[in-house]
Amino acid sequence: MKMKRRNREVVVEELDITSLLDILVILLVFLLMSFNASDLTIDLINNLTLPYSKSMGMANHGVVVQVNNKKEIWVNKNRVGVLSSSAPSDVKITRVLRKLASVENQKIDKSRQDEPKYINLIFDKGLEYQDIQVVLHSAAEAGFGKYKLIVQGVE
């Protein structure tokens, strides 16, 4: 017996992507709102809470010093030591920062090498000025005469 082979036409139904597009648009708007034009990306160390400020200055890339509430000092993701009143911790910080200052110097023109350089300083909001002063002094000694105090924006 001869059987006729049926030609089945395959109909591809189009996927409804309207809801997917809705989600994408919402995600896009959310990400655009949280976009920060600053070129400084910071990995905050543990036990560090930034103080709030109404300041709107954009942070820029540079040497980053972080000090948390346990007074641990981190320079560019490297733990340098702990601030203490007894040990001369500022000597070690100055030494590390001097090395970084010389690296920064190599990147810029000779004519601009004497100008004070910028340093990004991130301190825990609970630190006392006597501790901060040690870091500020060390930074100035190393040639970083302009401080950029990193703060958290008020919503």
Binding site: I17, N36, P51, G57, N120, F123, L127, Y129, I132
Partner: protein, 170 residues
């Protein structure tokens, strides 16, 4: 009478594939550059030590110094360091509104001066220092700029004092 022909509008579906590709790339770019903590900076200078004699000026410079003590804030002016105002703490908090109005009035009378020395005591918390810096820097009433008559013209300021110098309180 002729019957009006009904034209059925057959809209062709838009090809959204390239748009979707672009949106996906954009989302990935934004996801990687997203920082969920909004960080900003406050510019500050290290104090400069100089042996040179200061330049002779006709008008006495303002030389504004804001000293933060544990119980009060002192506003000092001129080279002699004479106390202009003492702002006491009220209910255990610094009266930053009062401080803002004092420094704003000083700035109005000294439009050519743009720096202030912040001098905190050793035990003052960093959070307080930032609050004081905000008070002496950001204009009152949420305004973005103020214009004042200055030497026969006008001068617009965007900040009360924009140059902050941190100096230890001696």
């Amino acid at each position: 009478m002729r019957k009006r022909e009904r034209k059925e509008f057959k809209g062709e579906k838009l090809n959204l594939v390239p748009v979707m590709d672009a949106v996906f790339i954009f989302i990935f770019f934004l996801l990687f550059s997203a920082q969920f903590i909004k960080i900003f900076e406050i510019d500050s200078d290290a104090p400069i030590v100089s042996n040179k004699a200061p330049p002779v000026e006709k008008k006495e410079p303002l030389n504004l110094v804001v000293k933060i003590h544990e119980g009060e804030i002192k506003v000092l002016v001129n080279n002699s360091g004479s106390v202009h105002r003492v702002i006491q703490k009220s209910n255990g908090r610094y009266n930053l509104k009062r401080l803002k109005s004092v420094v704003f009035n000083l700035r109005k009378n000294h439009l050519d001066e743009d720096h202030v020395i912040i001098s905190p005591s050793p035990k003052i918390r960093y959070e307080t220092i930032i609050e004081v810096i905000d008070a002496v820097k950001i204009l009152p009433e949420g305004k973005k700029s103020f214009t004042f008559p200055y030497k026969g013209a006008f001068k617009t300021i965007n900040k009360i004092f924009s140059q902050i110098v941190l100096e230890p309180n001696t």
